[in-house]
C-alpha cells in the first residue's frame, strides 16, 4: 500500500519508473490495469450470458411442449444460409483473434486490416440475415396478424413430406408461431449485438489507425475481441437450436 502511494507521488518524476502514457494513475502497473479490464469485461459478458440464458430457457420449455411444431418450423429455415453464416462468423472470430495478435506484436497496419476484415465479415453475416428475414416476410412466417403457416388447400406447407404429425393445420398455425417468435427474438437480439460489435470496431479501428495501441497497451482491441467472440459463441448455440431441431 505504502509502495503504491510512493509510486503515485513520485512516479512521474522518477525516470526509472517512466509511465506508459495509457497507465491510469489509480493502477500500479500496466499488467494490473489490464487484468482489471479483463475481469470487468468478463463480468459484463456474464450479464450477457444470463441475458441470453433467459431466452434459451424459454426456448427449451416451448421446444419440449411443442416439439413437432418446432421441428416442422425449423425445417423451413434454409440450412445453406445458416451454415454459411456460421462459417462466416467463425472466420470473423479468427480474423479478430489475429487483429489482437497484430496489436500485441506492434503491427499497426495489420491490426487495422484484420479489424476491417472482421467488420466486413460481420456485415456479410448481417446481409445474409437480411436475406433470410426477407424470405420469412415473403412467406408470412413473421409472427403477428399476417402470420400464415400454410394456406388451406395449398400444399406448399414447408416440409409437408414429413407431415404424418399429430398436429392439425390449425395447431401448427399457433404453435409454429411460437417457434418463429423465439427465432426472431433470439436472432434479432444476436444481430443487434453484431451491429453494436461492428460499431465498436469502427472506433477501435480508428484508434488503431491513429497509433493509440502498442505491445504494452492494446486493451481496447482485446476487449472488443472478447465481445466479438462472445457474440460468436451465442451463434454457435443458436445455429443447432434453430436450424437443426430435427432434420429428415
Amino acid at each position: 500500500m505504502s509502495k503504491a502511494v510512493a509510486h503515485a507521488d513520485h512516479g512521474h518524476a522518477d525516470a526509472q519508473h517512466a509511465h506508459h502514457p495509457a497507465l491510469q494513475h489509480h493502477f500500479d502497473t500496466m499488467a494490473q490495469q489490464k487484468e482489471a479490464a479483463v475481469i470487468g469485461m468478463w463480468v459484463f459478458l456474464l450479464t450477457e450470458i444470463l441475458f441470453f440464458g433467459g431466452l434459451f430457457v424459454a426456448y427449451m420449455i416451448y421446444r419440449v411442449w411443442y416439439f413437432d411444431a418446432f421441428a416442422e418450423a425449423s425445417r423451413s429455415l434454409d440450412l445453406f444460409w445458416g451454415g454459411l453464416n456460421t462459417a462466416v462468423l467463425i472466420f470473423s472470430s479468427l480474423t479478430m483473434a489475429l487483429a489482437v495478435r497484430a496489436a500485441q506484436t506492434n503491427k499497426r497496419k495489420a491490426t487495422v486490416n484484420w479489424l476491417i476484415l472482421t467488420m466486413i465479415l460481420g456485415c456479410v453475416f448481417l446481409g445474409v440475415k437480411v436475406v433470410e428475414y426477407a424470405d420469412k416476410f415473403e412467406h408470412h412466417h413473421v409472427p403477428g396478424p399476417n402470420y400464415v403457416w400454410a394456406e388451406p388447400g395449398h400444399e406448399a406447407a414447408p416440409g409437408s413430406e414429413h407431415a404424418n404429425l399429430s398436429l392439425t393445420p390449425a395447431q401448427l398455425q399457433n404453435t409454429t408461431q411460437i417457434y418463429f417468435s423465439l427465432y426472431f427474438t433470439m436472432t434479432g437480439l444476436h444481430a443487434l449485438h453484431m451491429i453494436i460489435g461492428v460499431g465498436l470496431m469502427l472506433v477501435i479501428t480508428w484508434m488503431a489507425w491513429k497509433g493509440k495501441f502498442d505491445a504494452e497497451y492494446y486493451t481496447p482491441v482485446e476487449m472488443s475481441g472478447l465481445y466479438w467472440h462472445f457474440v460468436d459463441i451465442v451463434w454457435i448455440f443458436l445455429f443447432p437450436l434453430l436450424y437443426l431441431v430435427e432434420r429428415p
Binding site: A31, K34, S160, G225
Partner: protein, 120 residues
Amino acid sequence: MSGHISPVSLYITIFASLMVLTGVTVGAAYVDLGMFNFSVAMLIAGFKASLVVWYFMHVKYQSHLTKLTVATGLFFLAILLGMSLIDYVSRDNFAGTGPGGLPAPVTPEGQMHAPAQAPH
C-alpha cells in the same frame, strides 16, 4: 507486459477445428439418434464454445481470478437452465401440459407421431 502471444498456427488450428465441428453438427443432425440428437448437438456446441473461450478469448493464459469469474458465469447459467427445467420436467406429463396447466394443443408425447387427425 504484453500478455501471452499465441502462434498464428494455433489460431488456424482452432479455426479449422471449429469449421470441422460445424460440419459434424450438420451431419449428426441428419442421422436419427432419437433423443440423443439434441445431446450430441449441444455437446458439440459446448465444445466449440470452450475452444473459443479457452484459446480465442485467451482465458487459458489469464489469472486464476479471471478463470474463476468465467466459471461463476457458467455456474449461474447452469442454475438458470437447470432449476427452470427441473421445475417443468418434474410436472406430470410435461410434454402434454400447456402453459398455465391447461391442456396443450399438442397431443401427449406418446402420441406425437400418431397419424394426422386431419388431411395435411
